[in-house]
């Protein structure tokens, strides 16, 4: 068995000549990301068509339910209306994450299977956490926070602070990547198994991976659906929690 798991394909390479940033790669990640954005935006436009105050359509009910769900999620986890400005950001993050994760179901490569994506989100969240902390206790208070409870702890505090975005990005990326790897392994091994099993009857049947029909779908329910939804939810929840905690300090 020879399984190869590759990174995102590169469709085009735009040479920029900037030393550190390197070439701009039109990769699968970016193309599918734009597709995801199109899907989300299209869905929003579709759901909010013909809005009415009374006698609403099913579509509008779904849209209102989504908005209420986002409102409730943020309000319940931050305990109040203090972070209402965060709701659209959290929703955008969650929607992008979940659609990106689930788009692998139609055979496209998830943008979240590229560490660049999660790193970008995690850095944005990290900047927001830091910004909230500085807003809550001032620059001095923020810097002084690293020396608690004793000054010796400063390097560890800095490390733990930096670990936040790294762990968030790597948790999400790792889960999605492992899903891809495991799915690849399952397909390959089931193909081998069916070749061995049906090869006993005829050499023609051995070429058709019969066991690959149905069985991976069941496993995909966990590795694609469950992990995809779960990771999107975890990433979003962590974002809310970290920012809410940052404001309390």
């Amino acid at each position: 068995m020879n399984l190869e798991v590759n990174g995102a394909r590169i469709f085009a390479r735009i040479h920029t000549g900037i030393p550190v940033l390197g070439d701009f790669l039109i990769s699968e990640t970016l193309v599918v990301s734009w597709l995801v954005m199109l899907i989300i935006t299209g869905l929003c436009i579709f759901l909010t068509k013909n809005l009415k105050v009374e006698n609403i359509s099913k579509r509008q009910a779904i849209a209102e339910m989504l908005v209420e769900a986002a409102n409730n999620l943020v309000r319940n986890n931050t305990g109040g209306n203090k972070f209402d400005k965060l709701i659209p950001f959290v929703s955008a993050l969650f929607a992008t994450s979940i659609i990106s994760n689930l788009i692998s179901l139609v055979g496209l490569r998830s943008p979240t299977a590229d560490l660049s994506t999660e790193a970008a989100w995690a850095v944005v969240v990290f900047i927001m956490i830091t910004g909230t902390k500085i807003k809550a206790s001032g620059v001095g208070g923020y810097l002084k926070g690293f020396t608690t409870p004793i000054p010796v702890m400063t390097p560890f505090n800095i490390l733990s602070e930096l670990a936040t975005p790294v762990s968030m990005a790597c948790r999400h990326f790792g889960n999605i990547l492992s899903g891809i790897v495991i799915n690849g392994l399952i397909y390959e091994s089931l193909a081998l198994a069916s070749a061995a099993l049906f090869g006993m009857f005829s050499s023609f049947l051995a070429k058709i991976p019969i066991l690959d029909v149905g069985i991976p779908a069941i496993l995909s329910f966990y590795f694609d659906w469950f992990t995809g939804v779960m990771q999107a939810f975890i990433f979003t929840m962590l974002t809310i929690m970290y920012i809410a905690n940052a404001a309390e300090e």
Binding site: A8, F24, I45
Partner: protein
């Protein structure tokens, strides 16, 4: 086709994804949250308005009811007063009529009695005259002599009175 390595951070992809996230944030805000929140706010206002209006209507109805009740009770009192006044008036009138009738009856009775007495007197007088004339005739026949009426009138009257008393 060329592929990027499995675990790597491409700087431009990283930047593009940050921008994508913020573009998505704007789009989701513009196309989902803004219209839906507007509708929710409108609905909230409508509900508030309806509740307020219902409360006002209730208050109005209550005050109207109070007013009607007051009117009704005053009307009842008025009606009772009118009835009692009418009763009193009728009573006094009846009494007066009764009294008047009694008076009339009494006066009629008195007059009738007086008439009767007068008639009786008249009849007695007439009878007296008759009897006087008769007595005279009888006496003149008895004595064969004309008794002058004028001379003996007094005598006759005395006689008649005596007869009257005796009878």
């Amino acid at each position: 086709m060329e592929t990027q390595s499995l675990v790597t951070i491409i700087p431009w992809t990283f930047i593009a994804q940050i921008l994508n996230l913020f573009i998505q944030l704007y789009l989701i805000k513009r196309f989902l949250f803004k219209p839906i929140n507007e509708v929710l706010e409108k609905r909230r206002q409508l509900a508030d308005k309806e509740i307020r209006e219902a409360r006002e209507a209730q208050e109005k109805a209550d005050s109207l009811k109070q007013q009607y009740e007051n009117n009704l009770s005053s009307a009842h009192a008025e009606a009772a007063q009118i009835v009692s006044e009418a009763q009193k008036e009728a009573e006094t009138k009846a009494e007066e009529m009764l009294r008047q009738a009694e008076n009339t009856a009494t006066s009629i009775k008195a007059k009738a009695e007086a008439d009767i007495a007068q008639e009786r007197k008249k009849a007695i007088n007439a009878a007296k005259d008759e009897i006087g004339g008769l007595a005279m005739d009888i006496a003149s026949k008895v004595v064969e002599k004309e008794i002058r009426e004028e001379d003996h009138r007094k005598l006759i009257d005395e006689f008649i009175d005596k007869v009257g008393e005796a009878s």
